[in-house]
Every structure is written in C-alpha cells, then in structure tokens.
Amino acid sequence: MLSVKNIIDVSDLSTTDVSLILENADSFSEVLSRDVKKVPALRGKTVLNMFFESSTRTRNSFELAAKRLSADTVNFSATASSLKKGESIIDTVRTLKSMIVDLAVIRHSDSGVMNLIAEKIDIPVINAGDGKHQHPTQALLDLYTIKKSFESLEGLKVAIVGDILNSRVARSNTALFRKMGMDVRLVSASMLLPENIDFFGADISSEIDEVIGTADVIYMLRMQLERQSRKYYPSLKEYRRFLGMDIKRFKSMKKNSILMHPGPVNRGIEISEHVMNIDGTQASRIKIDEQVRNGLAVRMSLLYLILAK
C-alpha cells in the first residue's frame, strides 16, 4: 500500500512508496512483453484523463496504462483560455464529481493547482504535470530507467542540463533523485535558472563540459522554444555551445554513463542529429525510447497501487 492517496508532488512519497512502485513496475514490464499485454486487475474501474494543457505522450501513456489494466478511460480535453482561472477550476471539480469516475489524471498549466482540485473531490488525483511545478510520473519513470541501468542508486552523479527555469521535470526529478540518495547537479546558464535556486538543494554548473567526464547520468531537458519569445537565452547557437550534447561530448562521457531526455527532443539543439542517429553498442546508452517504454510500466504500477483496493 502507498502511504498517499494522491500523486501530486514527489516529496509526498516515502522511499518505501517509491520502492514499491518501481518493484511492481518490473512485474508490469513483464506483462508488457507478453503476446496478450493486458491483465484484469482494474476491471470495472474508470480513469478520467483531464488535460488542460497539450500533451501527447503523457496522455497516451496514461490511457494505454489504464487500458492494459482493463480499466475504462474517459478523455476530457479542455482549454482554460476562455474561462477565468477560478471558474475553470470549480467547473473542473463539478465535472469530476458528476462523472463518477475512480481516479483523475490531470494536467494543468497552473503550478500548484492540483492540491486545490484534490481537496474538492474525494477520488485520487494523479498530477500529469502542473505548470512549472511538478511532473511526478516523469520523475518516477526516469528513476526506474536509471535503476535498471545501474546496480545501486546511492551516490550516482546526475547532471540535469538545460532550461531549469521553465522545467517541472527538473523540479520533480531533482527532488526524487536526491530523496533516493543520488547526487544531483544542475547545469544551466543564469538566465535559465529560477531565483530561488537554493530550493533545489543541488550544486550548479554553467557548462556541460564541467560534468561530462564525471556524471553517471546526463539528463538533457527540452529547450522550451515556445517560451523563447521572452528571450531567456541569447541564441540557440550559444545554447548549443554551452549546454548542447554533440558527438564530441557524447564520446567523452564517463564509461557506462547514460544519456536521458524527457522528449520530445529538439534535434540539433539539446542533442545533435549525429548523437540521435548513432547506432551500434553506443546507442544503448541513449535511454530516450526506453524512458517512454518504462513510463507505461510505471504508470500501470501507480494506477494499480492506487486503485486495486
């Protein structure tokens, strides 16, 4: 049993919770390797996917996870643009209550809105990303991917590289990785770091070259191009020069280290075409596709642990 009802913030999870989620994910990985990739564990349950912000991989992953557990799914796409924020949240709650579902997966552009929603309804809520705040299932699937690549998590050196300011992935991953005993370093330029950087409790570097030879995990964040109209960074060329992963840097990475990215990758910005297209034994160190695969198993594990009771 998990110690929490809702999955909103990774810091609410105990290390026992995290271990249970990852151990059951192993069982679901096995289910996903079968010819019939479906088990009846959540038959009769209904999962509501409520996305107020665009998403393809997270929404599809949750939907597929629910279906492979034999739960029914309802997709509720909403745009909050025409409503005032306060009204849209209350409407959300009302809709959720009247649909009589068993669990809600919610993505919203407002940081921290999940707690408000969870307070108003009595079904469990899973945060599928809220603004710049948290993306707990991404953190869990990333942790699972790392756990499968190394013997022990304790003391692993992780470098999270790129647009920390706009990234909920950076926030939830840093918190979860540190909770599990890993050593996290943020690699970014000052304009891509938030003001309250102490909150992360992580060391800071300004260039990827400072960590390339020592990190066990290099985690590239997606450059939030849609937010670049606000000129957080002078130019993409500059970004590539200090924070990008090119073939030369890839080859100078520590032996047995891995490269991760939450997707979708801006090819040629965070990671060069050359690195993305690499094949042979070196390709297995790039975990981007595996992260997506593991995401399904981890989300199945979460849905199962929350709902099968």
């Binding site: 049993m1 096995e30 009846p40 557990l69």
Partner: protein
C-alpha cells in the same frame, strides 16, 4: 499470534509425497515428452521445480518449469493486504502442451481460477493438470486437483502453514489455530 496444533507432514513425508506425485504424473501422461511445469508464486515455484527434477531424473528427459504470479488476476484484492507482485517467467511456448500447475495449498479455489485465466493469456495449452501439496477443503468454485499430496479436512479458523527449504529454510507442513495466544511459528 497463532498456536501450532499439529505437524501434518515432516520433511521426509514431503519428499515421499512429491516422489509419489512425480510417478503419478508420468503414469497419467504416459511419459513426460509433452509436459511443462508452472509453479504459482511463491511456494508453488519450488514445488514445481522439485517435481520437475524428480521426473527428469526418472525419465532422463529435461523438463522445463516456469513461474506464474497471479496478483493482477485476483478477484479479492480488496480483502487482502496488497503485496508486491512477483515476476511471471514462462520462457517457453505453452500452446498444445500439457501444463502441470503447482501450488502449495488448495483452499477456496480462487487462486487456481486466477491462474487459469492468467495461463489462457499466454496461449492455448492442450491440458492443465493441478498438483497441490495440501487440499484443505472449503472450495468456493468448482475446481479440484488432479494430484494431491495430502487431504487435510480443516475448520475455517485453522490455517495451514507450508514451509519449504527454498523459501522458509525448512520442509514441513503444520496446522495453526487462529486467535490463540502462543509462540510464533518458526522453522
């Protein structure tokens, strides 16, 4: 706390019972060329491996044995403390094979029902035959075992504890009586 009431099978008894069942399986299947073993987590797994080894020694053929976890197929999750699921390992094709399904105790039949559903998701076996070390009665579903180590009529407040070398450090089967103060049972 549970009180130990009686030892029903000793380690030597378990050895004899498994040997007898091994012979019965060979006899009924006219050899062992088409059989595969599936043990239900957790104590069905070592039992399946032991019987498979017995048969392999007797017949001189290699017998494969897989592991089946039925957690995700249960219909009574609500009534159980949720435990960690184990990994299912069936590294062979089960289509048209004779599956020998093995569990330690047959009680309500619900575990076996779940196991049958799980197996059907992997293919279409020719037959499924059930081995249990102990049949304690109180069936809730129309399920019976093909090979039984020992029938032990029990009352509902009794509990059958199976200990195996591989999982618990010793081989024995004891009856425990519920709700009575006593020593914790240890190997």
């Amino acid at each position: 706390m549970m009180k130990e009431k009686a030892t029903v099978l000793s380690d030597a008894d378990i050895k004899r019972v498994l040997k007898r069942i091994s012979h019965e399986i060979i006899e009924k299947n006219k050899g062992c060329h088409n059989i595969v073993f599936l043990g239900i987590h957790k104590r069905g797994v070592p039992l399946a491996q032991r019987i498979a080894k017995n048969i392999s020694d007797l017949e001189g053929e290699k017998i494969v044995s897989g592991k089946l976890d039925i957690t995700f197929y249960r219909d009574d999750l609500a009534k159980r403390a949720k435990q960690r699921a184990e990994i299912t390992e069936i590294p062979f094709d089960i289509d048209d094979r004779d599956i020998i399904l093995v569990d330690d105790v047959l009680f309500t039949g619900r575990t076996i029902r779940s196991a049958l559903n799980a197996i059907m998701d992997f293919g279409r076996p020719k037959t499924i035959q059930l081995v249990v070390l102990i049949d304690r009665g109180h069936r809730q579903l129309p399920i019976r075992a093909d090979y039984v180590g020992k029938n032990i009529p029990t009352s509902l407040n009794e509990f059958i504890e199976v200990n195996l070398l591989e999982t618990d450090g010793c081989d024995r089967v004891v009856i425990l009586e519920n709700k009575i103060q006593g020593n914790n049972v240890k190997c």
